[in-house]
């Protein structure tokens, strides 16, 4: 126990270190000049990306989901560099987040159709086609996994997400109490 929670290379402490560094960087880059909704939103997006990125980095490329996340973020930043305006990148990002979180009901109908066509065999045996498809959407990089790997990745992803939430909660608490 003792050796574990003193371990500086544990996932949690790695994530914390990275995330705090990223926060400092964000603050340093963007002095709080404006409180316009757009700027606030941008900062929020940056913090969220920083959280995802530092999580994925602290997992490194050991997991499929972290690799997928890193790849996604990288390609996004590349896109942002390619496109001149920042607005477009924000737009794409918001659309991606909303699709993952909100459209689950629409999604089911679409999935049923899709599964009847393509992915009929494997998960249908277990009777989990719809849920597996939904899970694939949620877990980064899950589109190309079979159910076994998907569940594996999901377990790890959940662990990391809970860690992330804990750390962020704590930081937010400490800041807001101050």
């Amino acid at each position: 126990m003792d050796s574990q929670h003193l371990n500086p290379s544990s996932l949690k402490s790695r994530f914390t270190a990275r995330f705090l560094r990223a926060l400092i960087k964000i603050n340093a880059q963007k002095p709080i000049s404006s409180s316009s909704p757009r700027d606030i939103f941008q900062r929020y997006q940056r913090i969220k990306v920083a959280a995802d990125k530092s999580m994925a980095y602290s997992v490194r490329s050991r997991r499929t989901w972290s690799r997928a996340t890193l790849w996604k973020l990288r390609s996004r930043s590349r896109r942002r560099l390619a496109s001149s305006g920042r607005r477009s990148s924000i737009k794409t990002r918001t659309t991606t987040t909303t699709t993952t979180t909100t459209t689950s009901t629409n999604h089911r109908a679409a999935i049923v159709e899709k599964t009847s066509h393509e992915k009929e065999n494997k998960e249908d045996h277990v009777g989990l086609a719809v849920q597996a498809e939904e899970l694939r959407e949620l877990v980064p990089g899950g589109e190309s996994m079979d159910l076994c790997n998907l569940l594996d990745e999901t377990a790890h992803y959940i662990k990391c997400l809970t860690t992330q939430v804990q750390v962020m909660k704590k930081i937010a608490n400490l800041y807001s109490l101050e």
Partner: protein, 285 residues
Amino acid sequence: MDPPLINESSFSAANPSAYSLAEIWPFPINPGSDPTAVTGGGLGLRIGNLGGFGETSGLRDGSMEDSTVTEQSVGCGGGRKRKELSSEDESSKIVSTTTSANELNDSNGKRMKTPVSKNGNTGSKEAEVEASSADGSKPDKNSKPAEPPKQDYIHVRARRGQATDSHSLAERARRERISERMKILQDLVPGCNKVIGKALVLDEIINYIQSLQQQVEFLSMKLEAVNSRINVNPSFEGFHSKDLGLQPIDGAGMIFGSQTAREYAQGLHPEWLQMHVGGNFERAT
């Protein structure tokens, strides 16, 4: 199960000298026929029986016990029996047939889940075996064909049910792996242990992930608001005292327990310092 037993008894009735053997044999068969208790009881009893014959050689026993599959031991036992009894001319044939019948019997027991019509099949097979042994062929000849069936038995045992082809075997292995992982996930997701049914469990997991992702979004929003405020007026001293005071409270609600709380507290201090330095620096510029 019944036809072989009847066969044996009828055989032993035909030859009184082997009657005792035929009577002994059904006992090891019965535990062996139970698919769950194949390895333990069957092996022990069989060895015990053979020991009773007074012919057990240490080497053989070792090899038998080493082999994890009971069917192999059955084959070995049969072969050994045959050899043992080949000295007795008269009973050799009968004993060999009884042992082969036992093997079939075992296989029968393993296929208990399969349709009962197979019993008739094994009965006919036994009849064939009996006929071949009754032909006057040597017991050695019988023991040779006993070797390749061992391989078959291993496969049969792996199936242990309706499955006959490699596809369903792989499918079953896959399913086992999936349910294993499901269990792990159930342990991870709070309140998921009470849910029954894979689909519902997955629903629960999906909901949990969504809520976590939303929480991350919400927290980054909160951090955004808070982060900018920190930059406006960072106060260093208040941090550390509150930092320490906060740990136990937050740790209680954590999934990972107090361990993480302490880790967090200890791991974070340099970070906080760094943070303050950074914030300070930024304010200065």
